[in-house]
Each structure stands twice: as C-alpha cells, then as structure tokens.
C-alpha cells in the first residue's frame, strides 16, 4: 500500500479528531507517507493552531469537543485561513454534506472511509490552485506518449488519433491532470460524472475498460494502473 502513496509531496497537515483510535491510525498512516501531522482532539485548540501556524491541509472531524469542526473551520476562514480543508464525518446526510461544503470545506469524506480514499483526496486537494488562480490551465496535456488537446478536444497516442466519447475524454483528462497520483472510484464519480452517490453498477470500471481498450489499441503498454482498493493512476514513466 505504501507504494501507492510514495509520490505524494510531504505536507504539513492539521488533524482534528477526538476519537483516539482514529486519530492515532490516521497520524501514523500519514506520517508513514512522509507528511508532518499535528493532531488535536479539541476544536478550540485546533483553531488556535490554525490561526498561529501554517498548514498545507486541514483534516477536520465534525463532532469534537470545544468547537465542532465545521464552526472551527468557519472561524478560521473568517480569520483569513485559506488552507484546503477536508471534513471527515460520520454525519452522512445530504444536508450535512451541503452544510460542510457551504461552511468552507473543500471536500467531505464520510466515515468510515478507506485510507487510500483519504490520501487520494488529500493529493487532489493539495494540488488545487488557489481560488481565482487559473494560471495553471493547460490547453495541452502530455503524459508519456499521450497528448490531449483541450481546445481541439483531440487525443493522440504517438501519431494515432484516438476517438473518445465525451465521458471517456473527461475521464482521461482527470487522470492526466493527476498524473502519478491515485484517483479513487468515488473521486471519479464525483468529478467526471458528478454523481454524489455510489452506484451499485461498476460504471467507472466499464468506462475505464473502454478507455483502456481505445488507448492501448495495437498492443501498447497500458499507461493506466489499477490500484487495488484505491482506484487508478496514470503513470508518467510507464510501468
């Protein structure tokens, strides 16, 4: 599993979680990946930390003593904190998720979650440009011998033009934008299909399978790697 996460840049992470087992598990797991983790179990203490120090990412549980995670985040945002924040909560209702995202969170992950899902989402959040900054927009995405032209809506592998359906195009674009980083099934459902729910049918797998067939036509190496229990990753340097 470590291999899945080795390419994530080291980040300074604030973790607010009152359940000791979960806090220890997450701290240990994130530290194993090379991140520096500051763990707090109380909302007020976490707020003081956030305002006094700089973090690359905030991981916040909602129901914690002192200040609940969402209120803490709102206060931090009002005080000017711009660090990306992901809420981890057992509160799974639609209203809860809406309240979390409207309250300033960038992502909302429902407990229990797979650790790989959390790290994949952290990776995606960490690379998100600051609000209003679109300077990183690239009209041309190039990974290994795959080239995607977002203006002409064309994809080439080597000198071969690949005909992709719109959803397959979006799927590949999302993978290319996250090169060498795992993207999970739920992230793909969320970002590519805008499905805020988990279908029983393997629609991600079937689309991915078609995308692979089209990309690998002619027996080339498969640039997309399946990561068991975590999702997929497009590799910059082959396998």
């Amino acid at each position: 599993m470590e291999g899945t996460h080795e390419r994530l840049d080291a980040m300074r992470i604030l973790l607010l979680e009152d359940d000791r087992d979960t806090r220890d598990y997450l701290s240990r797991g994130l530290k194993e990946l090379g991140h520096r983790v500051v763990a707090e179990s109380d909302g007020k203490a976490a707020l003081a930390r956030t305002l006094g120090e700089s973090f690359d990412i905030l991981i916040l549980d909602r129901m914690v003593p002192g200040l609940d995670g969402l209120t803490m985040l709102q206060l931090a945002r009002e005080a000017g904190c711009q660090s990306p924040a992901i809420i981890l909560s057992a509160m799974a209702g639609i209203e809860d998720r809406v309240a979390g995202l409207e309250g300033g969170a960038d992502d909302y992950l429902i407990k229990p979650f797979a650790f790989a899902e959390l790290t994949a989402r952290l990776g995606a959040l960490a690379r998100r440009p600051p609000p209003g900054d679109r300077s990183d927009f690239q009209a041309l995405l190039r990974v290994a011998d795959i080239e995607m032209d977002l203006l002409k809506r064309t994809v080439r592998r080597g000198d071969r033009l690949i005909d992709l359906q719109p959803r397959e195009f979006s799927l590949l674009e999302f993978l290319l934008r996250n090169v060498d980083r795992p993207v999970t099934r739920t992230m793909l459902l969320d970002r590519v299909w805008n499905f805020g729910f988990d279908p029983k049918t393997n629609i991600v797998e079937t689309h991915m399978s078609r995308l692979r067939t089209k990309l690998n036509d002619g027996g080339r190496d498969d640039p997309i790697r399946t990561i068991r229990g975590a999702g997929y990753m497009i590799m910059s340097g082959g396998r």
Binding site: D21, A90, A92, G93, I94, I203
Partner: protein, 466 residues
C-alpha cells in the same frame, strides 16, 4: 339510514329547502284557516239576516218584505247601489225574493234562484254588469215564496289573494336571505377549512413548520386552529427528535464501525497469511455493505423528509437523464443489452443529484432484476404541463400483485434474497419522485416492466438559483 348531504353546499341547500317548505306549509295553513273563518263569518251574517227577514215576513207579509228587499238590493231600486248595503265588515249582501209561483218579485242581481239550503258558489251579477259568485242561503217562505240572501265572495277571494301574496313574499324573502346567509356562512367555513387543509397538505409534503392561521377572534375556528397548531407543534418536536436520534445513531454506529474498518485495513496490510487476508477483506466488504444499508435507510428517510426541497433549482431534466443513461450504456453493452434513450428537452424544479440517483436506481433495477439480455428504453416528453419520464425494460416483468409492493422499503421479490441490494432502490426512487411533487407508477408492459413518472414542468426555467 337517511342520506343527508355532507358538504356545506349541500347542507345549505337542504336548510334553505326545509325553511321554504315550512313557510309554504304555514302559508297554506294560514290561507285555509283565514278562508274558512271568513266563510264562516259570511255564513253567520247570512243566517242572522235570514232570521231577521223571516221574522219581518211573518209580521209584515210578502209585499212589505219585497219593499225591504228592493231597498237593500240597491240595484233593484236604482238607488245608491249595492255599496250602500255592505255590512259593517265591508262585505256586500245580495237578495232575491220570489212568490209562490216562482215569479221574481225583488232582487235582480241573482240571475237564477238556487235550490233550498246553502249554495257555495252561486253565480251573481255585480251592478256594473260583471259576473261573480257568492255563497247563498235560500229559504222557503210560509206562503210558498222563496227568499235568497247571498254574500259576494269577491272579498273572500281578495283576502285569499292578499294572504297568498304575503306568504309568497315571505317565502321569497326567506329564500333570498337564507340563500345569501348560507352562501356567506359557507364561504366563511370553507375559507377556514381551506386554510386548515392547506396546512395539512403542507405538513403531508414535509413542511413541518406550517401552522393554521389564527385571527384572534376567539371563534370556534380559532379554538380548533389553536388546538391543531398545538398538535402540529408536538408532531414537529417528535419528528425533530426522531431526526436527531437517526443522526446520533448514524454517528454512534459509524464511529465504532469506522474503527473496526481501520483495524481491518491495517490487518489486511500487515498480514502475510493469504487466507487471513482474504477473510479480513471480506469483513471489510461486509462492514461496507452494512454501512451502505444504513446509509440507504437514512437516505430514504431524509428524502422523505423533503428538506432537499430548499435547494431545488430549475433543471434541464433531459440533460440529467442523458448523463445517467450515458454512464450506464457501457454496462448494458457489456452484457449484450441495449439501452436506448429518446429525450425531449423539458425543465423541472429539483435537485440534480437526487434525480440522477433515481434514474440510476431504475437502470440498476433493470440490470439486476430484469433478467439476462433484457434491454431498457428511457423516454422523456412533455404533455399537459407534465414532464413524463418512462423507463421500460423488455425483461421478465413483475407479477401484477407486486406492482405496488416493489416500492416498499426492504422489499425484494427474489425469495432467496440471493441477488445483491437491500431492496431500497425503488423506495428511494419513489421518495425522490414525491419530493419533486411527482408521481410514479409501475405497470406491466408486454414483455417487461415499465415505470411511468410524472413531474410538474417548470415554466420559468433556468432563471437562476431558487
């Protein structure tokens, strides 16, 4: 059992009809009684007059009587006219006298001599020549002559007419005021009932904050509204505590399960025993399934609570349906099935995520339960203010008796319950459709099963967040 109308309108009409009937009966009785009374009075006067004239005849003889009769029957003398002989009560008396041979010797206003005794409707002539009728008493005189005394009935007819007029006027006034007041009463009652039923409808649709307006008049309606509001307040409290319990339960269940899952994840990562690893991974799958079931149950309740409506915006339904069918088409293709879509653009107010979930559930229902090779066709069209979404398959269908029950929570028609799923998919679909003010019905198509969904169209689409 007597069938009485139950509506306010029916009761109002019945009450006006009963009042009218009572007035008619009372009026008829008044006419009859007064008619009889006047007739009796007239008979009494005739009898007294007859007695007086018979006495006069006995004392003074027929010639003298003829004089008197001529004098009283003014027209016979060409004198002051018959009005001179009206009685003290204003009613006119007429006379006729014949001798023993039947020859008329006095009184010309009675054309034909009646038989002895009372005549109810004796034809007479008025001095002005017009015809009339009178009630009359005819008596034989001891000398064989005949004396007739009659009272003109026109006064009686006038009295009858006047009473009838008064009764009809009364009836008209009562019917008019009765109708107006029942209309006003009906409106008042209906207005209050509409407020109460509107509130109840709002509550049924999940708006638990709705209350019946109270106008402070202290009327019966105000009192019942206040009691209803107390009841609604109590219901809202109960619903709110139920939601709180669900939320707490979700939290309290997810936290330890989350911990177990973390331990399992760690075990799966650390173990070198292949069999143990597989067992642990299966345990993770089972935990996820349990959480999934729980989330599904809470999700259905949440959608049924209609809180989502607060976020409803105008949506292009065809695009949403198209997105979902596109997402599922490869899954159909891979099984050698066909998924076709024929979508007309139409806007409804709603929540895109919920609608996507509903359509996804219907397509998954086809994939899971319609049988091998069954395809599906999705169509969207608008008709008479409604967006009509149809999801039909050509699979094995559902027995007619189950067409309603498939929407119940945790219902699975497969008795072995061997196929995946919790039987929550279609109850979620129905909850979502109802939250969107829509209706859903399942029907058998030949072959297969068809879901017909109607949503009200949004006629001011895409004008921004609502």
């Amino acid at each position: 059992m007597i069938l009485l109308p139950r509506t306010i309108k029916g009761l109002s009409i019945l009450s006006a009809a009963v009042s009218g009937l009572v007035i008619l009966i009372l009026g008829a009785a008044a006419i009859l009684i007064s008619h009889h009374e006047i007739e009796a009075q007239m008979d009494h006067r005739i009898e007294r007059e007859m007695d007086a004239l018979l006495d006069f005849h006995a004392s003074n003889g027929a010639a003298q009587l003829a004089q008197v009769v001529r004098g009283r029957d003014g027209a016979a003398t060409g004198g002051t006219g018959y009005l001179a002989d009206t009685g003290s009560d204003g009613r006119m008396m007429l006379y006729a006298l014949a001798d023993a041979t039947g020859r008329r010797i006095a009184g010309r206003l009675i054309p034909d001599m009646p038989p002895d005794g009372w005549s109810e409707f004796l034809p007479i002539r008025h001095p002005d020549g017009s015809k009339g009728e009178a009630q009359a008493l005819s008596r034989r005189l001891p000398d064989g002559g005949q004396l007739v005394i009659a009272a003109d009935r026109s006064a009686l007819h006038r009295a009858d007419d006047r009473i009838l007029f008064v009764v009809l006027m009364g009836l008209g006034v009562i019917l008019l005021t009765g109708t107006l007041s029942t209309i006003a009463f009906g409106r008042l009652v209906r207005r209050r009932l509409v407020l109460i039923s509107g509130t109840a409808q709002g509550i049924i649709e999940g708006d638990y904050a709705r209350r019946v307006p109270v106008d402070g008049s202290g009327s019966e309606f105000d009192r019942i509204s206040a009691i209803l509001n107390q009841m609604l307040g109590r219901i809202e409290e109960l619903m709110s505590s139920l939601r709180q319990v669900s939320s707490d339960l979700a939290h309290d269940m997810r936290t330890p399960l989350g911990r177990i899952r973390q331990d399992m994840e760690r075990l799966a990562r650390d173990t070198t025993d292949l069999a143990a690893g597989q067992a642990v991974e299966q345990a993770i799958v089972d935990i996820d399934a349990l959480l999934d079931l729980f989330a599904g149950l809470l999700g259905v309740s949440e959608v049924r609570g209609f809180a989502a409506r607060k976020r409803f915006v105008s949506l292009p339904l065809a695009e949403i349906v198209g997105d979902v069918t596109d997402a599922y088409r490869p899954a159909f293709d891979d099984d050698g099935r066909i998924l076709s879509a024929d979508l007309q653009p139409v806007a409804i107010r709603g929540d895109a995520q919920l609608l996507k979930r509903a359509i996804a559930n219907l397509l998954e229902n086809v994939l899971a339960h319609a049988g091998n090779g069954a395809g599906a066709s999705v169509s969207l069209r608008h008709d008479a203010g409604q967006a009509i979404l149809t999801v039909a398959d050509d699979g094995k269908g559902v027995p007619t008796k189950d067409l309603e029950t498939i929407f119940e929570r945790l219902v699975r028609l497969d008795p072995s319950r061997s196929k995946g799923g919790h039987g929550l998919g279609l109850s979620m679909v129905r909850a979502i459709v109802h939250a969107h003010h829509g209706r859903i019905r399942a029907e058998s198509s030949t072959p297969g099963l068809r879901f017909l969904i109607q949503f009200p169209i949004d006629h001011q689409p895409f004008t921004g967040e609502g």
